[in-house]
Subunit: 339 residues, 4 copies
Amino acid sequence: MVVVMKPGTQQREIDKLVAQFQLQGLQVGITNGVGCTILGLVGDTTAVDMDKISINEHVERVMRVQEPFKKANRKFHPEDTVVTVGDAKIGGGNFSVIAGPCSVESEEQIVAVAEDVQRSGAALMRGGAFKPRTSPYSFQGMGTEGLDLLLKAKAATGMPIVTEIMSPKYCQLFEDKVDVIQVGARNMQNFDLLKEVGKLSKPVLLKRGLSNSYEEWIMSAEYIMSEGNENVILCERGIRTFETYTRNTLDVSAIPAVKKMSHLPVIVDPSHSAGMYWMVEPLALAAVAAGADGLIIEVHNDPANAKCDGQQSLTPERFDNLMGKVSALVDLVGKTLIK
Amino acid sequence: MVVVMKPGTQQREIDKLVAQFQLQGLQVGITNGVGCTILGLVGDTTAVDMDKISINEHVERVMRVQEPFKKANRKFHPEDTVVTVGDAKIGGGNFSVIAGPCSVESEEQIVAVAEDVQRSGAALMRGGAFKPRTSPYSFQGMGTEGLDLLLKAKAATGMPIVTEIMSPKYCQLFEDKVDVIQVGARNMQNFDLLKEVGKLSKPVLLKRGLSNSYEEWIMSAEYIMSEGNENVILCERGIRTFETYTRNTLDVSAIPAVKKMSHLPVIVDPSHSAGMYWMVEPLALAAVAAGADGLIIEVHNDPANAKCDGQQSLTPERFDNLMGKVSALVDLVGKTLIK
Amino acid sequence: MVVVMKPGTQQREIDKLVAQFQLQGLQVGITNGVGCTILGLVGDTTAVDMDKISINEHVERVMRVQEPFKKANRKFHPEDTVVTVGDAKIGGGNFSVIAGPCSVESEEQIVAVAEDVQRSGAALMRGGAFKPRTSPYSFQGMGTEGLDLLLKAKAATGMPIVTEIMSPKYCQLFEDKVDVIQVGARNMQNFDLLKEVGKLSKPVLLKRGLSNSYEEWIMSAEYIMSEGNENVILCERGIRTFETYTRNTLDVSAIPAVKKMSHLPVIVDPSHSAGMYWMVEPLALAAVAAGADGLIIEVHNDPANAKCDGQQSLTPERFDNLMGKVSALVDLVGKTLIK
Amino acid sequence: MVVVMKPGTQQREIDKLVAQFQLQGLQVGITNGVGCTILGLVGDTTAVDMDKISINEHVERVMRVQEPFKKANRKFHPEDTVVTVGDAKIGGGNFSVIAGPCSVESEEQIVAVAEDVQRSGAALMRGGAFKPRTSPYSFQGMGTEGLDLLLKAKAATGMPIVTEIMSPKYCQLFEDKVDVIQVGARNMQNFDLLKEVGKLSKPVLLKRGLSNSYEEWIMSAEYIMSEGNENVILCERGIRTFETYTRNTLDVSAIPAVKKMSHLPVIVDPSHSAGMYWMVEPLALAAVAAGADGLIIEVHNDPANAKCDGQQSLTPERFDNLMGKVSALVDLVGKTLIK
């Protein structure tokens, strides 16, 4: 951490602040220049509150030098984390595809789509039972009944289930029935929910918030990990920018950046990034090329009548075609596609 | 709603789509041009799913003409909503100031600050008991104990309490003890929480999310209102942009825009927008001049030792000075300052 | 400037870098910690290239401590700059309003509007002769002929002229005929143009780019000032965000922030920020309340037939009404309205 | 174009507006509903000014249905444009790589780098002679002398030259000496410059502005094309967002989106997007996978001593390694790498 003093600060004010830092167990180096003093702080600054330092009337600026996260930090855990779910593996050279409809609508639908995507090479199945919708008047998902239909699809195919949790009150239910618990973009900083899923044993798929920085995203993973659950999969799903042509702007740089900062696996959701089915393929391939550890893709057997997000869903045929290309590209980048 | 057909679409495809809309009770007008057909839809389109229409392979684009919200819509409720809390009133020409520390730290602190801000003209008191923090290693608030300290400050001053809820599990507690329930920016689209507070009888102060549009913000109010609780106060607290000098970018345009779209009162939080105490005054005055119905301001009697957000907290002296200016300006714009 | 070394960097690599900085005349302080070394650099770092330091393979991060601008920096020039144009003054407690149509369309139009806005209290007149338009098929302005019409309006009213320059080739023409030379938002980083207007004697009104930071904006002023022209007026006109309801998002924080960083006057353009005439008043008043030194407002005597930006233009009646409120507010904040 | 009337507008006002549109040669369809009238306009609306319609006091909203660009529009020119420069081809299944240093520094440097990148498979050479820099105190490029050094590198290798123009005054010089004229991101809406390069015969490489939409970018290409120069190459180089870890956020969606909207080739600059050399490879590969027609990459033989952008420059060795991967991926996506 670096503290820049205001020009003209008296020596005794600097001494006071230095003593305060030393009391917190930090080492302090001082650079004196004409009208400018810089304090360099080293030691464990994770719990030091920058804002509290910046209140000091003699302080001009405070800058963090070390990342504020520990458990998710690649510096302290250089090897890739590999999240294992049944036969599927995500991370450490393993590439897995999660596929399925935006929302569970019926037993026929979810079982049919699960069988289709499995045949094309998906390793896990997705399907929303609890749906976060911008409007209270939109379809809100089938709820617990939807979860039961997902279990039928799992029984039929053996594929693990990935589905979204929206409230801490369903934690036990998800712990019992679900294989990977998804925390959606809008709940990325729902800290109470993060703490609760951190107490469960199932892996958590944590989507990046619409306008959250890499650091904030990893800090949300840190919330989950600090409660004991270290199986976190990060999912980039596009950020909000001024561009309105796409639903969101896929940030592919997030893949190499976050993988450098953290040992956690990073997967990509091209469906929500694009918001249009015809753009899913180029974005999915871009994600693989940039080093993603997996994809989560919306597939529906009747997009025109889907209860939500039909416009961005692939048909099973289109998904099958895409998987051929994904498979070749995963090979080229030297990873192993888990089916 | 307007549906633009792709160039070259055959008449029978257009007829099919038109029939489908008519089945939903909508009137459809058709504009035919060389290689371009436009369908105009009128009637109650609130529940029509734009995305479902846009899946149709003959549709080029779908555009909404009417707002997707009803209960919050000024068109159906032209008069300003006035939210009354004890002696305080917000909206409809009434201007109220909410003030207090970022977090409740001790009985002495919260009672002292409450007395100070009341003396300077605040009508309601704020103080965080449950704190949303980016880091799991930061102070998370005093929790239920903090709520009890707020009640002591209320007993001492008579001022109503505004404080943030972070989880549905505390709904009953807040219903019992709190006067205005705040939903924070990071929970603006925590739909489960919105539905739960919508079932309570206490007014809800709904902060705008970091990168949410006016429409999404009002739709979140609509979630609360659709459950029965129509006492919603909207609070602009700055949005996230590329500018890093300020903590957030205060969007003053939100005040006239949202007040035109909705009848709900709009207040402003200059403290979180600025992130620096010396910028609170110009932003607070800008908000009043732009037509805000109130302000929510962080005040601490010892900012240098505040457990959070000290850098953006005003001292009671600075707050008192600011209130003098706010009072004169509220007069000038023809509103009534409620003390 | 602060340089953070990578963990585990050998001492001789640190020594090499330190020697390099000392050669550039900088003083270097070193903070050594377990696996972390921080170098604090003081002296004149304005010309030090951060990027060049960050290439060093042993460097983890470089952070600037001092602003990269000098002539525009309030630290080296604590008093407000006052720009004087004829009888008008901007800055240092003086508040001036610039008003007129988006573009000059005819002698009748520009003279009539100039007389109208003068009567209502404007001190300077605006009118576009060269128009930057997104589409090559839109009206591009009357060009040099438009400048001559502006001179007729000046002859009729005595008001100084503010108009936009789009190409260095017109520098001499503007130097001869115009009183304040406007550089538009889209040319804020047209560095060749900045250098050329920096060689002229007329004040320059520099609009902030659509997505430029405060620092970049001031650096563009520095370009002009470094060529000798120190009469720069900064103009906030809204930034681009995800919100589409408004044309741009007015950033009122820019007023106190930039005035703290720089001694240059800051004015606000509420017309381009809002993009809708009915929002001009609240934004204009917000700007005054936040400490702006002036306003630039679009006024047209026949908005419905304006050749551009009619939707955001005030009629002379609305402008007159607004000026009454602006005048009262300028008084309240203790500034002097120059008419 | 669609015009939505305000609820309650009288029929004669609607009739007046309809007549006005018909006078402009447009066909108008009318949808009447309870309290809502929608006008659908078809015909050539390219030159219709939406803003002028929205001034009408009875109009609630105006929405464009057709793109405002013609010459760049894929609808009117379904085949891919292929830009040919010497032996290089960009577009239509041809993939070309442009490589070289950020700025020309000496004959030795530019010739050596040109030979290196050619050996690794680049088809064109880049090098800045005129440099747009945020600070007036940074290195501004070697100017015309730099152009002459580029010609020496061309003589040595036969590779066409790509370099940036910053002012209309150098148009003739660039027409004479340069093979592809680059218009930088900061000049994307320098409309005077666009018009001037539109009169030249050399292809133009048009970078996307930091916060410009796809439509605005294509409209800037339309400016160039409307003056007669139809050889425009679009270049995505990252946009500005709230994320500060990367210099810019590469928007890979721009590739499929803009190629759907326009027939012009789209290339990607991973160097400026990333701002860090180690991120160039994943972004370059992502761009190829997403369908880009080429890449422009910064390569320097001594990044540590580069006069600018060394931190994002590849060494010739790293570039050579990258080209092996690019080549394999271009093959996989079915394009032809032009060497």
